[in-house]
Structure formats: C-alpha cells, structure tokens
Symmetry: C2
Subunit: 399 residues, 2 copies
Amino acid sequence: MANVLIVGAGGVGQVVAHKCAQVEEVFENITLASRTKAKCDKIADMLPRKIDTAEVDADNVSEMVALIEKVKPDMVINVALPYQDLHIMDACLETGVHYLDTANYEPLDEAKFEYSWQWAYQDRFEKAGLMALLGSGFDPGVTSVFTAYAKKHHFDRIKTLDILDCNAGDHGLPFATNFNPEINIREITANGRYWENGQWVTTKPMEEKRVFAFPEGIGEKDLYLLYHEELESLSKHFPEIERARFWMTFGASYLKHLEVLQNVGMTGIEPIEFQGQQIVPIQFLKALLPDPASLGPLTKGKTCIGNIIKGTPQGGGEDKIYYVYNICDHQECYKEVQSQAISYTTGVPAMIGAKMMMEGKWMKPGVWNMEQLDPDPFMADLNKYGLPWQETWLDKPFV
Amino acid sequence: MANVLIVGAGGVGQVVAHKCAQVEEVFENITLASRTKAKCDKIADMLPRKIDTAEVDADNVSEMVALIEKVKPDMVINVALPYQDLHIMDACLETGVHYLDTANYEPLDEAKFEYSWQWAYQDRFEKAGLMALLGSGFDPGVTSVFTAYAKKHHFDRIKTLDILDCNAGDHGLPFATNFNPEINIREITANGRYWENGQWVTTKPMEEKRVFAFPEGIGEKDLYLLYHEELESLSKHFPEIERARFWMTFGASYLKHLEVLQNVGMTGIEPIEFQGQQIVPIQFLKALLPDPASLGPLTKGKTCIGNIIKGTPQGGGEDKIYYVYNICDHQECYKEVQSQAISYTTGVPAMIGAKMMMEGKWMKPGVWNMEQLDPDPFMADLNKYGLPWQETWLDKPFV
C-alpha cells in the first residue's frame, strides 16, 4: 500500500485528491501540498477520509526535497504548473521517489511545448531505479493509451490518427473561460501543427476546420486543428503513422468573443497608463470575467474526447476506421468531486497512472510516455473509476 | 452683414467655423467660443480668414450673457452639448439675440429626447421679436427640409415617411467609435419608436431590420429602426402622415463588437475595484480605443442620408414614391475642413440655417423647427455649399 504526495491544489489537484481518497486499498496515505495551504485544507475538508496537507513552493527544489523527506512518499503526483516539472523531477531524483505528471514541461518565458527537456532525464531516472510517467492526463494520457490499445488489439499498422477533443459543455453565460484567458488566446492564435510523412506541417491559426457529429446527442461541432503535445511522442513511438493530427472544438460565440477582445486590445499584456496607474488590459478583463471556479456548478453538457484511427487491421485486409472515446458529463463530475469535466478528465487518469505504478503493473525505471506501457490494465481502470470508454467502427475516415 | 457667435469647438464647431468663414458676404464677423479656448484657437488657425475666439462655460448663463454683451453678435450658433440648449436660449433672450441649434435639449440625467422643453420658449421668443431655429443639422435638419420640399413640390398628401441614415464609411480599424461609445451603446440598446396612425409604436432594441440598396455604389446595407427626434416634430407639423420611421445602418462587425463588449462588462458605467482603485469599465475601454479625432484622416467611403416618401402626388392619381438624398464623401470633407462626413453633414446645415436667418429669408420671431420654413432657399444652398442632393422616383415602397 502506497504513500503519495500530490503537488498542486487547483481544479485537477482537487480531483486527484478525491479519486486517490476513494481508492484506499492502493493509496493508504495521501498528502496534498501547494503554495497556499488553505487551498489544500479546503479540499481535504471535502474528502471522505483524512489526508495530510502541507505548504510548498514547487519551484524551490530544496523546499520540495525537505517536504518529501518529511512525508516520505513512494511517489509524487505533480499537478502543479508545467513550469515546475523539472524542479519536481530534480527533487524526486534527489530523494529517490517516483514521479508522475499530466502535462509536459514548458519554460516560463516561451510558448514551447516539447518533451526534450524531460526525455533528457531518462538516464538519471533509469540509473536511480526510479520511474517518471509523463502526461498521465486525458490528452495527453488517455489519448496515448487509446492509441496503444488500438495497436495492441486491432491494427497491424496504424496509418492515420486524429484526436478529437470536444467540450460541449455550456455554463449559460455569454462568455467565460475555464482557465486563464491569456493561455487560451495564445493557444488559439498560435500556428497549428501536425505530423505527416515523417515531418511537421505548420498551419495558420484556425486555418483547418472540420465538422464532426459526436455521439450520444452531442451532435455536430466545429473542430479546429491545433498542435498538442501527444503528437510528438506518438509520432516517435509509432513511426509507422503517416499522419497524426489534433482537433479541438470551439463554438462560434466563444471565438467571436475572443476576436473582439483582441481587436479592442483587451487581451493585451503590455500595461497602459490609466488614472495614473499601470494597468495590464488582460488582467483588468480577468477581473471582469466570472471566476472560473464559479462555473463548476453552472456547467451542463458533456465532453467527448477520443481517437479516430485508420489502418490495416490485424490479420490484414482492407483499411478499417476505429473510433474510441470517452463521454463525460459536467454535472455528474461536479456531483462527485465538485469539479466539472475539464478537471475531472485530467485528474482521474493521473490517479490511475499512479495506481498502475504503485500496483507494479507499470513500474519500470526510466522516463516513459503513456503509450509505451501496457494499455490493458489502464483501460480497465478507466471503466472502473469514472471514465468509461466506448469503441466503434466508422464507415468513413475523418478527412 | 452679420456678426455670429459659434458656441462649441468639437468636430461640428470646426465645420461650422470653416463654412461660415467661407461665406464672408454673410458672416462678416465670427467668434468661436468653448470651455477650452485652446481648441478654438486651433480651429481658428486652420481658417482662411481671421476669426475671434473666447472661453465660455455654456452652462453658466451669466457667463454666456457677459460674452454675448461683449461680442454683440446678431445670433448664437449653438453646437455645444444638447444639455446646454436651454441655458444658451436663456442667455439669448436676456441679451436679445437670435438662436440656432442642431439637436434638441436633453436633460443630463435621463435619456429623453423631446422638444417640449424648447417649444415652451415659443411665447418668450415671439414676444422678444427673436427667432430660435431648432435642429438645423442633417437629421434633424436637412431631413426635415427634405420633407417640407417634397410636400411643397410633389405631394398633395404624404402618407408614409422613412428617413434612412447610412454611414458607409470605413476607417480600416477593427473597431472604433466616431463618438462616445457609451452614448452609442445607449442608442442601440434603447427601444425603437415610430409614429403610426396618430400614435407612437415601441419596438424592441434592433427588432426591426431592413436591407436597402443605396445609390452610387454604396450598395446593400442593413438598417435598424431607431427613435430619432425629427419624428416628433414632423408628425406634429404633417399630421396627415400615417407612418413615420427612422432607420440607421449598422454593420454586422460593429454590432458584434458592441455585443461582446457588453457581454463581458466592458461597457459598464459602475466602477469596479481593481488594484485598489475604482475603475469604470467603459472609461478604461475608451482609453484603449482609438481617439475619435484620429479617425478623420483614415475614414474612406460615403454617407447617404435621405427620405423615402410615399403619398398622393400633386394633381392626384396613384400613390408615388419619392426618394431625396445627399451623398457625402468622408475624404473630400476631410480635405476641405479636416473633419469627416459625420461632422460635415451636421455643420454645413447649421451654417446654412444661420445664413437663412441672417439674410432674412427665414427670419420670423418664435421657436421653429426646420420643416415650418420655406424649403426652397435652403435646398438651393445645400447644392451650393457642399451637400448637393438628388431626387428620384422609386418603383416600390420601403416596407
């Protein structure tokens, strides 16, 4: 039975704490730590059993080391900010504990999503006999496992992969963001990128748009091609893939609001002089918008995230098109863990990834992406712990 | 030859000063006054001949009286704010000079456009042997004269009147307002109102929309029904009118920006606490938006304002549909008076109205709306001083 230290007390940390607390047979002792202990205590008060809480600045390696030495966890579940991944990995190496995160490291000062920094830890983790599991959220994470599962059970050869991330939730407000609007805007205004025939192809922001009819009454939604980090590891670990793309739904109204706010300068990050003060427009905008935390109880509807995979079926024959996906209901998530589906779909796979490691099913020294490990026990736990998946064969490819 | 005092040094005041200066045979002496003398001096420096400038708070009747006694004008041309109309009328009565304005009085604390306050001065002006000419801009003003002209020359009986105000100018910026965005938003979000069968009919904001193909390459534009002040006086002075409506064009992009800014609270007038200061969102928005004065040199395209009138033609017979309009080019206006067409189309009729009074063509004690006076000399001067009009017969009514 395991002792885990969860770092990060945002929406995802809250879900991870809830789900670990539910699985007492694996996670005997839980400590939740963040920069603000009061946030940890607030989450602890919601849980069905007692956990410990602590204050830590995850950017400060020696503070992290001191906390790990005090708590003596078997592993750290890192759901803090992506900027902090390397510092926490350093602390894990120094103290000899395993590591898991849900999003790859990002330097604070540039928008650069890539695994190079973390993959560079491979030798050190391997030599220390420690495991680092990278990207154990939904996308990356479950979408990576979906790909490995498709390869293991259905395909001799995967030819094309399209990951479709649909949030059909509606909070009923004209405009609000689930998280920092600045990050959101950066994502939407950045170039898209996808993998094709052994190289990266760059697209203009929002240049590639598709419509897809999602299952279970969600219906047709607009999807836009974005770059997403699992494309890097999946194209590396499945070199046979001819084309791999990532798509996310954005509603017309959401895009309209972002466009206008950009046009008038409300999303600017340079301060302007106003009433004798320096004011950063996007910070003033944030003050006007609803607090993301207030959206949880308001959000209705579902998310649907999954993979459409085309390839040569096992045993040969005509190419087949496989669709594997999870549907998650915002209100049911909120009922269970007081967070809506965006945090839920990230937090549950983090708990399952940690469970795989602690149960020894995935324990293996080194730095690993999700698709490198046996998908079967993880897929079974998705069904058991709140993210049931479905699979179907499609008549036509996603083009 | 006349001595005039122009009060107000905004965009319209600048045009009036320019146009009066051009007509030296009528306006021998010109004084331009406003709260900020520097603004008057700046305008004076642009003009082809010397005018005087002065500082005055038009809200302060005794200050206005003192200025009038010093300048000794034959009339005051009031192009200050509508809140100041009554104070300036009081000062004119006290000093015995004639009065002209371009927009009806509005109390500071309520959005209430009506002539009642100014019509109540009728007896006082008549007894003093003084004339007050109300609403000598374009709409109201030229649109009122267009109606009187149609009645005098073409119709036995006017049945329906539709005033179409189209600004097809483009400043090339994603979003900017020609004037205070707060006033603009109030106009658009207010209920519409029109005259039908002897009573006012209220419509929801932007409820009534039409498309009209404007002449001279402007093409099809969306028009929305608004209340506009000339409807009050025209329905009174032409009681035969069965229906009178006012329409203004708004582009889809402009409306989209206003909608989003409202949705996120950026148009709010209640202060919010931010960085320890009270900040009014719409004031912060104003600081972000381009200065309206900077739009002048950027604005291209035309305005087209006119009346579509259906009725029984003189001599009887089938109803006919008459369209009389002016086309004004933003860039040509800017070249002539360093203001674009919005200010130009208001300022030129103010000068012509004053000219009609000073030449004795319209001189008549009392308080008058434009349509109560002989349209012919005014119509002739529109052609002469920069706002040429055209008339045509339409095949089908504006429904």
